[in-house]
Amino acid sequence: MAYKYYKDNRAYIEALLKTGDAIVVNDEVDWDLEMGAIVRRVCEKKSPSPYFKKIKDYPGFEGFGAPIASYRKLAVSLGLDPETPIPAIAKEYLSRTAADKGQKPKILNAKDAPCKEVVWTGDEADLFRLPAPMVHEGDGGRYIGTWHFVVAKDLDTPAINWGMYRQMVFDEKTMVGPVLPFSDMGKMFYNKYAPNNIPMPFATVIGPDPLSAIASCAPAAIPEDEFTSLLMGEPVEVVKCETCDLYVPAHAEIIIEGVIVPNVMIEEAPFGEYTGYRTSPREKRTVYRVTAITMRKNPILPISNMGIPTDEGQLLRSFSLGLEMERMLRDQGIPITGVYMLPESTHHLVVVGVKPAYANIATQIGQLVFGSKLGPWFHLVVVVDDKTDIYSKDELIHNLSTRCHPKNGIIITEQGVGTPLNPYAWPEERKYSRAGKVIFDCLFPPEWPTSMVPIKVSFDNVYPKEIKEKVLSKWNQYGFKD
């Protein structure tokens, strides 16, 4: 049965306008920094998403900023009330995606696919005809792919991948971007196509429906098109590309088709990144050549503006990385109460609540999550007990400052897999994606006798039930207004 969801970017924008989580900007805005600056401020102030009706130099195009940069918008994208609390959003996501198999996409004819309303091939397929924004001053170029995903197919298996990998416009026919070697598309391209010198067909899907976008940046264990069907409760509708055999979501705003060039790299970046810094330098990266561009009439180009919290990279990646970890730890039978990755940590810090059932359970949790496919993206795991609210930053600070032994409680692994984007890393560490990993064990050792375990002094913990009930029932009578 289908859940309530939005089939395209437009229906989603309408929903956000209704809940007050988007506004219409009728003034003309400049693609050269002005749109970027607006979206950046929206992320920092947690303002509604701007729906730009007029873009300088690009009549007929519209724009949409910060598509899912808040939990409210995430709730709306899943068809939930915007006020839904984070644990309830997480529960919904986990229950929808519990199955290990989704449904295959439904194939539409081109005439029924809105993304084919306009088709440009040959010289017409010119990237400068699209209003790619200069997102931040100093960026290495205009980024057309900031809220999008790249579709690719494995060389010798039927595996399909949708992955959100940023793309910079280099010239009219060329895009360039980082495809990390441990990403799914990186494995397909660098391990199979490139060694055989075979160009890899790709299709960039710009302005997809929100659930396809969420799937493309989630660490899903199944193909992302099937994962999308789990989020939707029915198959995602796709259509065949013009110049290759790939299939793309039929209701997306813009599709760019082409090939990824083997064994040639050109310069990309710098770019504002999810860590809140422009960290990875200008470097030679993966080259995409364009063969066709198709789109809806009056397409709406979305912009995610990465920088200091909170942007989509931080919010969605924290959300899905944390929940994938939760699934894995439960599958392994670890008695966890939950997992919360803080978007404010730029998905570097995760809090795991656990019943302290045996000694060194925190180390076991840390090793499991760092050793998984999710491991490169974070380096700080804080393990707290089952009485701690994993969503509370106050409780996190209190745990770290009082329960974590400064010597025995901090477990450091020096050689782990990282990313080139870590702002603190030395150039050599970035170059080879190396990173140290740290576990903060905030559990009192289970071998301590009961008489020795410090008692948490809180309203909840140190008063008898009847006193608490009395105080709570008379709270306002005492004169308190809260």
Partner: protein
């Protein structure tokens, strides 16, 4: 006079003047093609009047060097194999 910028990964003091360099130039002419990149062979000088065109230099993370240089473009170069 054309106006470009380029990124260098070293410090500005290490910029090689009056020697042929192969690098990426971005065209800063206003309009829809602003920031178009292209590989080129060129010579630069920190003396803004020495060569015919203007060049702004940025460091690896986008930091703009506040004083412009001058540039002479020798040729534009295509680095993508033919047919792709």
């Amino acid at each position: 006079m054309a106006e470009y910028d380029t990124y260098i990964l070293t410090e500005f003091s290490e910029l090689k003047e009056d020697e042929e360099i192969l690098g990426v130039l971005r065209d800063l002419a206003p309009g829809t093609r602003k920031y178009r990149s292209t590989y080129a062979r060129f010579k630069v000088s920190k003396d803004a009047a020495k060569y015919p065109d203007r060049l702004w230099v940025r460091l690896g993370r986008g930091q703009l060097v506040p004083t412009p240089c001058s540039i002479s473009v020798i040729e534009f170069v295509n680095v993508i194999p033919k047919g792709l």
